[in-house]
Amino acid sequence: MTTDLGMPSSGPGAPGAHGTAGVPRLTDGTALTKKDFTSDQEVRWCPGCGDYAILAAVQGFLPELGLKRENIVFVSGIGCSSRFPYYLDTYGMHSIHGRAPAIATGLAATREDLSVWVVTGDGDALSIGGNHLIHALRRNVNLKILLFNNEIYGLTKGQYSPTSHVGQVTKSTPLGSLDTPFNPVSLALGAEASFVARTMDSDRQHLTSVLRAAAEHRGSALVEIYQNCPIFNDGVFDVLKDRTEAAARILHLADGEEVGTAETVVVRDDRGSLAVVPRAEADPARIVRHDESAHDPSAAFALSRLDSPDLGHVPMGIFRNVQRPTYDDSLREQIASARTGEVTDADIDALLAGRDTWTVGA
């Protein structure tokens, strides 16, 4: 049996609501700065780590939200990236390996007035915490999940991760990795994610624009951030950081625009598969225009499959951005509509008594 939830109808969870609706905002024209979001803790990542750039971008972006600092929470798991909350002067929890989405779900479900962010890595989110990630996404909890993907285990010093390439030689795979990697974007789309994007540590402007869109989205947002590990997997995304190479390889996803580079464009063949072809050879009728709000995730999934291990084509940007009710809003709505006012002692007395009572006289 199913029942029509028909909600949430109003309040912060109403259709089209901003991701931070319900979170107290700064008033009186006051504004915070990057410095306000910088904690007094010494940052302890390795020199050259991509995490520095992401931290700077996040600290630089957060003031833009206009939220009260005390209403922002960062929850992380375990791994290099998961040290992130210590360096932000917000509320934060550095939890245990893989469990941040579950912990953040409990927090978001009970606190409508918080902007909740999860910071995780490829090992944390996709290996030990894979279950929690996919369930947070399908439930569409209003969480912003930043997945730092460096295709390696850094904190444990150089074992292969679920995004490492087949054949990758690491400390734990001296003869080459046997595992087929996950594509985090494909995985998220398969898990019913309502917002999925990819960006890169070194592209501050693009990273910030994706963070902005993720924050605006009401529901789970999975943001994959390509991040360089200078110690154990250095340079793995270097071709995307070289201006010329990047221009030839990165397929920019912009809503309503053709997907491609200056020279190439994505076309759809008769069977619905996508391919990257030179613009000159493309049949204009078959050129793919990106529609991030398409209800059917198939097109976004097909775009995610254009990735190639040699980074020959890499779609970047927002793959999917659709509205559907969030778990936390809906849960609050169920409670709100069941409530009949403040719970009194008398209400609890009646609850304890139930329906069948008898009385024994003195």
Partner: protein, 632 residues
């Protein structure tokens, strides 16, 4: 009322047994409810297989429900049934060995077919071969009489009519023990409100069973069990799982905290999730998580945000939650973990009771990771223990593990309702102001600056301006909470966390000893659900003149402050447990007392008679006075 003879009894133990699809649990529940409303004291023991529908008519498919009711205080569901209702040959065979000679057996003869008999290995029909001669057998064609009674229900199939046989049996037993049926009629009306035909059929079958008792010559006597003398008050019947759920809700109300349950379904804990999921009206949020780890993780996340985070599970789930409980120990946040124990290891005996998770609860985590552990003694006590768990968790900012078990979870007893206003005031104060100044003289917040009395750290929830801070599982510097790998600091913090838990002993009631003669040399000490069987065993032993003291631990960590003194004041201390001696091991280690362990792991509660024998033997060994013949 009947024109037949009515005889008074002081106590009766009935066991309803049938195929798992026969509705025995429902029948037992309804009979219990009728009995409770009549004012008898009672105790119940449902016993069912883990399979939802094992092959019909087989021994593994037998489901039973035992009820002990009396005109006096009842402590257990009873060692042996006075009456067995056997709906098929499998139910007879599976339960016969528990019956004392002379017990009454009401059998459904319709099911005693050649095929059903051979399914359970009966070569001869036990109803005909004289093997039941020492019992008081009442053969009743329950199915066919029930179907006959429904002859006017032309729209119902035979199968649907047959299904009403449990209501016929309930009606018959209601007559036999003069139980009012209005409660069951109201229950059926609510249950089948949108199926009027089925409702009428069930009501007709129920009344037909009652009338059958009154008219048939097979039952010459009806029985009455007078109401028990119980303390004045308003009562209801309650199972342990429901009492625990209600305790959590009432405690959250008294603490002024929203209740959040993160849980993954597992037998025998799932009923708590079901119960709380239906209480949204009281502001209760429940989440069925993707796994046990997510259940406790979400609960901890809710606690971080200022809710009362609760997770419910059974043994295998507690194992999975261990790492998150360790995080809660490190974060020093309130968290309630309810472990409704079942037989282990591994999947073990999902529907059977055991109390073998005690050591897991105390020590089943990495590192020095102390948590408070409490255990209810009876189904109704689950309410009080839930309130106590919340008091400890919120006062000391610590995880608390509640160790209930399958016997308490599904068993029921009358519960004298407390008044909500009389429950302990456990209102929580969140931190709202900075509690220190930094080296520049600016107000700052130190998340690990402790309350000098309780050693609890401040609970500063997100949304509180000026108290922004980070917590995590890495060791923290004392006071500031900053990451610290300093050896002395870790040693200090480890001892502080232990001292905080040890300090809970200052606020718990001392261990109370029940020793009517005040000169016993033998103490029987229990914990958790063994309370009823131990108390009943002690009662039997005392009836033979044995001088024996009884005490029961509600707090397993820390123990009450006087525990060592109590143990050392007896010549012999016997600890019965449904494990291989876990509490005994703890007590021996902590107090250097030569505890005698008496253990059983049969998936069933102890029998009072068995414990009475153990006690009598112990008492005889230290006493010059010969005991009387046991008056069981």
């Amino acid at each position: 009322m009947s024109a037949k003879l009515v005889q008074k009894l002081d106590r009766v133990v009935i066991r309803f047994a049938g195929d798992s699809g026969d509705g025995m649990q429902l029948t037992g529940d309804r009979f219990t409810s009728q009995t409770a409303l009549l004012g008898n004291d009672l105790s119940t023991l449902p016993n069912f297989p883990a399979e939802i529908r094992a092959p019909q008519g087989t021994l593994p498919g037998v489901s039973s429900f035992q009820l002990h009711f009396a005109d006096h205080n009842v402590l257990t569901p009873g060692d042996a049934p006075d009456v067995l209702v056997a709906m098929n040959p499998a139910a007879l065979k599976a339960n016969l060995r528990d019956l004392p000679r002379g017990a009454a057996i009401i059998v459904n003869t319709d099911e005693f077919t050649k095929r059903n008999l051979s399914k359970v290995g009966y070569v001869e029909n036990p109803l005909d071969d004289g093997s039941l001669d020492s019992y008081d057998v009442h053969p009743v064609a329950l199915t066919s009489i029930a179907v006959e009674a429904l002859v006017s229900f032309t729209d119902l199939t035979r199968k649907e009519k047959e299904r009403a046989k449990n209501m016929f049996a309930l009606g018959l037993l209601s007559w036999l023990y003069t139980r009012p049926m209005d409660g069951t009629e109201a229950f059926l009306k609510a249950k089948f409100a949108d199926k009027p035909e089925i409702l009428e059929a069930n009501l007709a079958a129920l009344r037909a069973g009652f009338n059958y008792g009154e008219t048939t010559e097979d039952f010459a006597v009806a029985y009455e069990v007078a109401p028990a003398a119980m303390p004045a008050g308003t009562y209801r019947n309650v199972t342990g799982n429901v009492a625990l759920s209600l305790g959590l809700v009432a405690a959250a109300h008294r603490a002024h905290l929203p209740l959040f349950l993160g849980s993954y379904p597992i037998t025998p804990a799932s009923d708590i999730l079901h119960t709380l999921a239906g209480l949204k009206r009281y502001g209760v949020a429940t989440m069925q998580a993707e796994d046990e780890i997510a259940g406790v993780g979400a609960a901890l996340g809710a606690s971080f945000g200022g809710a009362l985070g609760v997770t419910t599970t059974s043994g295998p789930g507690l194992a999975l939650k261990a790492e998150t409980i360790g995080l809660a120990v490190s974060l020093e946040l309130p968290l309630i973990v309810c472990d409704i124990q079942r037989g282990g290891p591994s999947t073990g005996l999902p529907t059977k009771t055991e109390q073998a998770d005690l050591l897991q609860a105390l020590f089943g985590r990495n590192g020095e990771s102390p948590v408070a552990v409490v255990a209810p003694a009876t189904p109704a006590d689950c309410f009080d223990v839930a309130v106590e768990a919340v008091r400890i968790a919120t006062t000391y900012r610590t995880p608390v593990i509640v160790l209930s078990d399958g016997y308490l979870a599904n068993g029921s007893e009358p519960w004298r309702l407390p008044r909500t206003a009389d429950l302990p005031d456990i209102a929580v104060e969140f931190a709202t102001e900075p509690n220190a100044v930094d080296d520049k003289g600016q107000p700052t917040f130190h998340p690990y600056l402790r309350d000098p009395e309780t050693l609890a750290r401040p609970w500063a929830i997100p949304g509180t301006p000026g108290l922004e801070h980070r917590v995590g599982g890495i060791e923290k510097a004392d006071v500031t909470g900053n990451i610290s790998y300093d050896p002395d600091n870790h040693d200090h913090m480890t001892r502080l966390r232990q001292a905080k838990i040890d300090g809970i002993a200052d606020t718990i009631e001392p261990l109370v000893v029940d020793d009517p003669t005040d000169d016993a040399d033998v103490l029987v000490l229990g914990w958790g659900s063994t309370f009823g069987p131990i108390a009943a065993g002690v009662r039997l032993a005392r009836a033979t003149g044995a001088r024996v003291a009884q005490a029961h631990l509600r707090h397993l960590n820390p123990f009450p402050a006087n525990t060592g003194d109590v143990l050392r004041s007896y010549q012999r201390v016997i600890v019965p447990e449904m494990n291989l001696g876990q509490l005994a091991m703890l007590l021996r280690a902590k107090y250097l007392v030569d505890i005698e362990s008496h253990t059983s792991v049969r998936g069933l509660p102890f029998q009072a008679g068995e414990l009475a024998d153990v006690i009598a033997t112990a008492v005889a060994s230290v006493s010059d006075v010969p005991l009387k013949e046991a008056a069981k």
